[in-house]
Symmetry: none
Subunit: 203 residues, 4 copies
DNA sequence: CATGAATGAGCGTTCATTCAT
DNA sequence: GATGAATGAACGCTCATTCAT
């Protein structure tokens, strides 16, 4: 916010946000995630988030330009973590069917390890979706299209298929958040079989 | 305030909501649907709804215990209308595969004919937390189970399959609301094929 | 705000704000005047005004679109009262010198009878002036110009003269507010003489 | 915090503000003037002032007891600079009429050479409540009184005349701030003529 | 000396709800 | 039955001030 020219930074860089600044922002983001996951996006006011963090409401305003920036940071952080965990597994696959299986499994694994993060982002995106563009092709859609070009997948609308896959995963996420006893392994297996059958080319 | 024991109902001695009461509630629910569909749930304050209905804000409070009850009634009314339009078509089918096709098509037909209602309920469900019990089996799940018993469907988790079907349909609904040019016929065909392949027993 | 179609209005018109509405608005405007006069524009928050009125802060929001509308109404009300009291006396004069004398005296008389109103409007205009246009000619400036055309006034810049007259009157207003014992009659006589001498044509 | 009794001042044993202390305060005051002139008093928060000065916000709190003291210092510094520039010219005059002319011209010259300072102080005085005592006679009033004793000026209330002169000059200042194209020379000539006519003894 | 971090009070505004008529 | 009026809590946000380092 202000340009912090700190006298002797710990390691390399000279400028940039201080250690404590980074930590504080991360802490606040985590609290925002907890709060949104716990009470839902609509009820997650700055007061609620601050209370849960045990800090004053204005601390958030100090570290973030506004609520919007905080929410965007939540999305950015969770997305980055998710991408880091999921895409390597997806990329490692050589077949489209394997890719699809890896996509589903890695998403559900991420849910298992970061349930609150997934809940929070789902809440946010659900509320923001209204004004989102949604017309652009997602990476998943592109992968499906590739599978069709390779002849591995049958002919179908990649867009509708991608919507359905995402919707199915998100739905399982919601169910898992509502009921932590849900067997994610079973769900992953079910969804994998479901979409394998619905995408594979006729033999 | 919720149970109005009014002095002299229109017909018999039996107490209960009067004619005008029922009509008023229905009118308000319709206005709520219009308003939510038009401006979104977040902007649909009681003031907005009342203004759009040309009535005073307090008349809503008079006929409904609170905003929550109104919203629940919106969901109930739209659900009832949807059930009335969709289930006969589903029931008329003799095969499980036909049932599934009818389920998908009738849902998407309802979207086409009642876009505002679908928009409103989608908005509401988006902004309300999913506090449903969700552990009970839905009628759809029961139908899927029946298809398995008949040997028409392969073995799969009827629950996960039902979740996915509903999620896919709702997702199409959201997309249709965001983009009215969406080709619902194509979507219906795509989803029908998708779930036919993923449910059918191996030949 | 809402269109009040009241069943039987008291007198003529059908539509329009109700009696109590008008009274409430007037009361709130009066309280705003009191508050601004007492604590200054910068400190006159809605909370202060509401507290002084013994009402809830939201009552103001109910009767006015926002703080801006309230402030504008203060200006409008005071201006209307001032115009009604002052311009007839100014118009009644047949000479420009008489007009100027009447202008000064009537302004100071208005201050005597409405000290808080004058203070409040002075406060407001002082804070709003920054972004005001101020390039248009005021009625006073036009009158001065007329006096020059008639040969009754000497040659001077009507604009600077008008500025000075207004500034002198406002200054006396400020002094009177700060010190209610100030002899307004003497001030009026002094200013009258001052501007008579400074405007009159050489004999 | 206000009276810093520092262990070893630079020169003598006498305590008092150090060199750097004085310089820092002066720098901050200048930045405050720049900021207020640029963005207006209402937007001139300590954050804005500190950012513009390239210093931390707390350094202001360190050198000044609070925002009030800073603002008062702005007024004091600008007043001192104005006095230094203006009074010698006023003192140099031998006649009261000359004094009055010099008073007006030197004030308007100060505006021309120090527009930011005048803007800032004008902004401050506009937004601060006039809590001055105002009962004491100003030097200008004394000079007017002297002119009367000398028979050079006619009989009038020196107090009201002094008020008017100051108000006229300040008004021109406000107009000049709002419109830098304003012809200050013309204004000076107009005001000089105006007050010469209104003060001079009858010939 | 200097500062990044944190705080609490206050701002104008929105809104579901309540109540006397 | 219906309503205009009023309320209080909560919202996101700003800002002067405080404090440990």
């Amino acid at each position: 916010m202000q340009s912090n020219t700190r006298p002797a930074a710990r390691t390399i860089g000279r400028d940039g946000p201080s250690f404590i600044e980074v930590a504080r922002r991360a802490q606040i983001v985590e609290c925002a995630i907890d709060t949104i996951a716990a009470v839902g996006y609509a009820q997650a006011s700055l007061t609620q988030i601050a209370d849960r963090a045990g800090i004053s409401k204005s601390v958030i305003s100090y570290h973030f330009a506004g609520k919007d920036e905080l929410i965007q940071q939540v999305i950015a952080d969770v997305s980055a973590a998710g991408q880091a965990m999921m895409w390597p597994r997806v990329q490692a696959e050589t077949t489209s069917a394997g890719m699809l299986r890896a996509y589903i499994h890695s998403h559900l694994d991420f849910m298992r390890t970061h349930p609150k993060h997934v809940t929070a982002v789902t809440e946010i995106l659900t509320h923001y979706r209204a004004q989102a563009d949604d017309t652009a092709a997602t990476p998943l859609e592109e992968r499906l299209r590739q599978g069709q070009r390779d002849g591995e997948f049958r002919e179908f609308s990649p867009r509708v298929m991608a919507w359905t896959i995402r919707a199915a995963i998100d739905e399982v996420g919601r169910r898992f958040v509502a009921n932590p006893d849900l067997d994610l392994d079973e769900c992953a297996a079910e969804l994998t079989a479901l979409f394998a059958l619905s995408t594979q080319a006729h033999q």
